[in-house]
């Protein structure tokens, strides 16, 4: 093993030779990792294991929000030994999901893990005896308590997952969410598919409501591995697409919140407002969700001066109607009564569980990749994060409202910076030569929060591992906590206020 134990730091997105990532003894790995994570400005954006001959290399990516870089460190173990390692979750809770994933996929047992249950019952899990349909939910023995099970199929047109409530009368003592029903083996398909375009298509189908966020993370990763630079113009165009996605989902989710508190005018108007935005995205690239927009190294759908003019009109009309409606909703006592002080997650809890994105910013945890690890257009025109304090449904509503307005302002600035006179066609690249024996990380801030894609290449420059992390992996815990001591009838409104991804989690 390497004596070199200096942690290597990279930017977002970046690729480095695999050999440059320090491989440490586990005691050293633990000390370094916990040392980093002790600081609130550091958080783990990905931690996973991949095969290196007969070894498994556990690699952690720790993002430093104050310096804007990502620390990489790793530990190697022999696959055959099925070794046990000390769980670091007991010292730093947000690692729970990563350690559970490593146990599920590779059979490494982490001793002292508080609850090492499967993440998603993936088809290639090591322990095939565990089955999703008879998962033993956490239970409390008491004559006073009862359990309510919901799912996997829910009452609405939404994705499957199981929610198990332990209630005392109407009050929720504990909520456990078990997912995995959407698992379709997408990470393995990245390796099975050999063409860049096929992988690009997979990336935009990880989570349809975050098509731009995920495909941008993929494109950045591939461009970094292929040493490809794209123009400033394209960077800005991509970020405009990302912000349009954010606006569309935020306004749609505010509509859904209104549905749940039976405020029909709000529900209708916000829903109609969303249509205007996604129809613009369709005018741009032919798909309402922005699929086919982001391609590696270029784009088929250049943002034209005509589109700019159209977008300015769309945004002006949208903003006027949105502000009128949201201001009225904000003041409405019947709405406020249902949003206010419902589903509070405290700043301390958010730090404890490692919330990211919206779920962090609504409770005073400043975590926004656009600000701290700027990518695409945000490195051209900076973005300043919005942070709210209260951590309840109202804060989640308000954060969406504020972020949406800020995204519109950001887009307007970005539109001014677009240089159409020097714009040249920038067709997507068909195939790339990836850096051999490399490790790459790419982060984007989607509307839910940070997306992290990691790739490892072998000595021939072929993809050897592909790892996706959707922000929902962290944030489902926040939804669980938000329900404690609430009436069970408050579940739908809390759920909508987060709108977390099932498919992004289940992969």
């Amino acid at each position: 093993m390497s004596k070199e134990t200096e942690i290597v730091r990279i930017k977002n997105p970046q690729s480095i030779p695999l050999a440059e990532i320090p491989v440490m003894e586990y005691a050293d790995f633990k000390a370094k990792m916990l040392g980093l994570l002790h600081e609130d400005s550091n958080h783990c954006v990905n931690y996973f294991a991949f095969r290196q001959d007969s070894d498994l290399q556990l690699t952690a990516c720790i993002a430093d929000d104050s310096k804007g870089d990502i620390a990489l460190l790793s530990h190697k173990i022999q696959v055959q030994q099925r070794p046990t390692l000390e769980s670091l979750t007991q010292y730093h809770f947000p690692l729970h999901i990563f350690e559970r994933e490593i146990t599920e996929n590779h059979g490494i047992v982490f001793t002292g893990h508080p609850w090492s249950k499967p993440v998603r019952y993936s088809h290639d899990r090591v322990d095939q005896n565990q089955e999703i349909n008879n998962y033993p939910f956490y239970s409390i023995k008491s004559e006073e308590l009862h359990e309510v099970g919901v799912g996997p199929i829910h009452a609405g047109v939404i994705e499957p997952g199981h929610f198990r409530f332990i209630c005392n009368g109407e009050t929720v003592l504990h909520l456990e969410i078990q997912l995995g029903w959407q698992h379709r083996g997408i990470e393995n398909l990245f390796l099975q598919r050999k063409k860049l375009m096929q992988r690009n298509l997979l990336a935009e189908n990880i989570a349809g409501d975050t098509a731009v966020g995920h495909s941008l993370a993929f494109a950045q990763l591939m461009e970094s591995l292929g040493g490809i630079q794209v123009s400033t113009q394209l960077h800005l165009e991509r970020s405009i697409a990302l912000e349009l996605e954010r606006i569309a989902i935020h306004v749609g989710d505010i509509s859904a919140l209104c549905v749940d508190v039976a405020y029909n005018l709000g529900a209708s108007v916000f829903s109609v407002l969303r249509t205007g935005i996604i129809n613009f995205t369709q005018q741009w690239c032919g798909n309402r969700l922005g699929k086919s927009m982001i391609r590696t190294g270029g784009t088929h759908y250049r943002f034209t001066p005509e589109l700019k003019d159209k977008l300015l009109v769309v945004l002006e009309d949208f903003e006027k109607r949105f502000i009128e409606m949201s201001h009225y909703t904000y003041k409405l006592p019947s709405v406020e009564n249902r949003f206010d002080n419902i589903g509070i997650v405290t700043t301390k809890q958010a730090h404890l569980i490692g919330s990211v994105g919206m779920a962090a910013r609504m409770t005073n945890v400043r975590r926004d990749i656009r600000e701290t690890h700027p990518f695409a257009g945000f490195s051209v025109h900076p973005y300043e994060a919005i942070v709210l304090e209260r951590g309840d449904v109202f804060a989640r509503f308000l954060l969406r409202r504020k972020e949406l307005k800020k995204s519109i302002a950001w887009i307007r600035q970005a539109l001014k910076m677009l240089d159409f006179e020097n714009q040249v066609p920038e067709p997507p690249i068909k195939e790339i030569n990836m850096m051999p024996s490399a490790f790459a990380v790419s982060l984007t801030e989607s509307w839910r929060g940070e997306i992290c894609h990691c790739a490892v290449t072998d000595e021939n420059g072929k993809l050897a591992a592909y790892k996706i992390k959707d922000p929902s992996m962290h944030n489902w815990k926040s939804l669980e906590l938000s329900l404690r001591n609430l009436e069970i009838s408050d579940f739908p409104i809390n759920n909508k206020s987060y709108n977390l991804s099932y498919c992004g989690h289940d992969l």
Binding site: E159, H183, G185, M197, L201, L265, T275, N287
Partner: protein, 251 residues
Amino acid sequence: MISEIKIIAHNGKQFISDVTKAAVPAPFRGKPEITGTLVDEEALAEICPTGAIQTKPVRIDLGKCAFCGECALAFPAKIRFTNHHKISTNDRNSLIIHENDFSEIEVNPEKIKSEIRSVFNRSLKLRQVSAGGDNSAEWELGASGNPNFDMGRFGIEFVASPRHADGIVITGPISENMAEALQVCYDAVPAPKIIILCGTDAISGGLFADSPAVDRSFLEKYPIDLYIPGNPPHPLTIINGILDLVRGKKH
């Protein structure tokens, strides 16, 4: 109250009054057209990331197509995506587009189960089952009921329980983990009942057709009443498809 009336006035009428005639503007990719132009067919088939293009002669299977448009961008003289969105059908074979075939994709009245139009003509309640999809088809199914498209005006709605439903709408390639739940849900729907496959993933498995985490055995057991292609399908494709199925051409 006055403010609310103002808001209503400012937003105006948003619903599409006739969904059967509404058009979706280009560059929306609806039904593709294939010309007889000679091209390197192997190269053309090679471009398709989902293997939806077959050669000699060239055909596109919309049940497999991800509507990414890469083929048309590379071979514009051969393939063109029109903005024609009415592409739902009950006949799997008519999802295969042939060279110089510019006919419409339609619901074949002869293939409709006899009770469908008599029973579901004015009211069709559906249970949606998401099974390994990416939430985009679910999204557009939800949008079909919004104030713009307002599918509810035709008596077509999504219900909370399979016991209240007249059929199921499946989205996603059907993950192994969802196979049992899907069967349980379908069994709970009282007869007569229909099955609608919504989106490319549901129709053929799409991008995930060969994934070992997918189990499509459910579909081998029952006839499919409607295929709604798209990635995701446009709400107008969804609504017109269902209307054609339960009401026929003249709504």
